[in-house]
């Protein structure tokens, strides 16, 4: 038996567990509805006053509000509950008997928990935005993808931390709570950092937060809502987004190391 077949076995089993009928359908419905309901081109935008990139950023940001939270709930549920219950019930131990490396098992679990959820979320949102405004979305696809990348970085970082916690504790309940606390904590921390930066006219606190949540630097690049004391260049936006994904990749790498070498079951 080749390595492909056991991998597909684990992947299909994980998808079956993570997306029981009608979970996938409910989330697809909510993503499609949410994209149209929350899409906004701004009431005060004038065609001369805003660039096409800024308009594309605005409309993508507006559609991300509640649908992104729904996506996060799905991912957190898959990682904390899905992986946690597999560890508790001993299903992971059964997978270890397959002719498949441990990292292959974790890849299959993450492909199901994160990959399918991301594919569904991005597929539906970008298609819906294309239906709504093809002449904004298609020419500004780079801006659209950068906005998604910047907005998804922090949720993916929390997902990585939740993965580590779930593997360490071998149950998902606590990591789910930690994940939700971390998610809401970021809005409070960025609020405090913004006030601090405005009063001191020093963007260091915002720059530090942008390294883990680059949506802040992107917002400042397109909107400049926080004041003139910080005017990031586009290369800076790319740098912060890149750094944030290096951090995300490092956390997932730690998860792989722990799952492959340190997880004694």
């Amino acid at each position: 038996m080749g390595k492909g077949k056991p991998f597909l076995e684990v992947l299909s089993s994980a998808i079956h567990e993570d997306y029981r009928f009608p979970f996938l359908e409910v989330f697809a419905f909510l993503y499609a509805l949410g994209t149209f309901v929350f899409a906004s081109f701004g009431v005060t935008i004038t065609a001369q006053g805003a660039t096409n990139e800024a308009i594309a950023y605005d409309v993508v940001s507006s559609t991300l509000s509640i649908p992104l939270f729904i996506f996060i709930i799905l991912v957190f549920k898959n990682i904390a509950h899905g992986l946690g219950s597999d560890l508790e019930k001993g299903i992971i131990q059964t997978y270890f008997s397959y002719p498949l490396r441990r990292r292959g098992i974790l890849t299959a679990k993450l492909l199901s928990a994160l990959g399918v959820a991301l594919l569904l979320f991005l597929g539906i949102q970008i298609s819906a935005l294309y239906i709504l405004a093809p002449d904004i979305i298609l020419p500004q696809l780079g801006t659209v993808l950068l906005t998604y990348a910047a907005s998804l970085s922090y949720p993916l970082l929390i997902a990585g931390i939740m993965l580590l916690l779930t593997l360490k504790l071998r149950r998902g309940g606590i990591s789910l709570v930690v994940g939700l606390v971390l998610y809401f904590a970021m809005s409070m921390v960025s609020g405090i950092a913004t006030i601090f930066a405005i009063y001191t006219e020093n963007p260091v606190s915002l720059q530090i937060i942008s390294a883990i949540s680059p949506s802040l630097v992107l917002q400042q690049y397109y909107g400049g809502m926080l004041g003139d004391f910080w005017a990031p260049a586009f290369s800076e936006v790319l740098l912060y987004t890149g750094v944030s994904y290096v951090i995300v990749a490092f956390i997932f790498f730690l998860g792989y190391i722990y799952f492959s070498r340190r997880l004694n079951l």
């Binding site: 299909s12 996938l24 409910v26 081109f41 935008i45 239906i131």
Partner: protein, 192 residues
Amino acid sequence: MKRWTTVLGRVGTVLIAISLALLLVSLIPQIDLISYRGGTSVSPEQVSTTGSRVLNPQQEVQVAVTVEGTLTVYLLEINVELQFVNGTFDYNFNVADLQELLQEHPDRVTWEREVENEDYEWSYIPTRVMNATIVFYNPSDSETAYVEYDVALKSSLAPRDKVRTIAYCATPIGIILAIPWLLNSWKQRKQK
């Protein structure tokens, strides 16, 4: 085989779910943002405009015109402004500007129609954020034309017809894909 039936079946049910969301979006009624009506006479080989608006893809402009004589009605992607010239207010757009625009920027002509002694209605939903100006041009070299117009700007979540068409196309595809999987699941439950 069974795995492919499941994959295609779930793709089908997801398509049905998305179609239901699109149908729901298309059923949400439009909101009237602004409407105005007026009438004007257009001298031979002259233009008249109704002013500019910024439109976005969640808005639909509905125009009804009644024309006596012959007029070419344009929806142009331009911004015109009122100017105070020789003691009167007038828009900074004349027939020379129109000719220049038609020759050098034909891509800015969003819509064009010649209307002759008739009532005509049309609507337009932009696919990007744009300035829009309705322009009436009298191509006749001797007769003055009269136009009465009724312009309404409406707001909706999405272009209703487009969304509804996609939903109508996706639903049967989804049902076809889902039926084998649903039958399979039902048989399995019956056996249990």
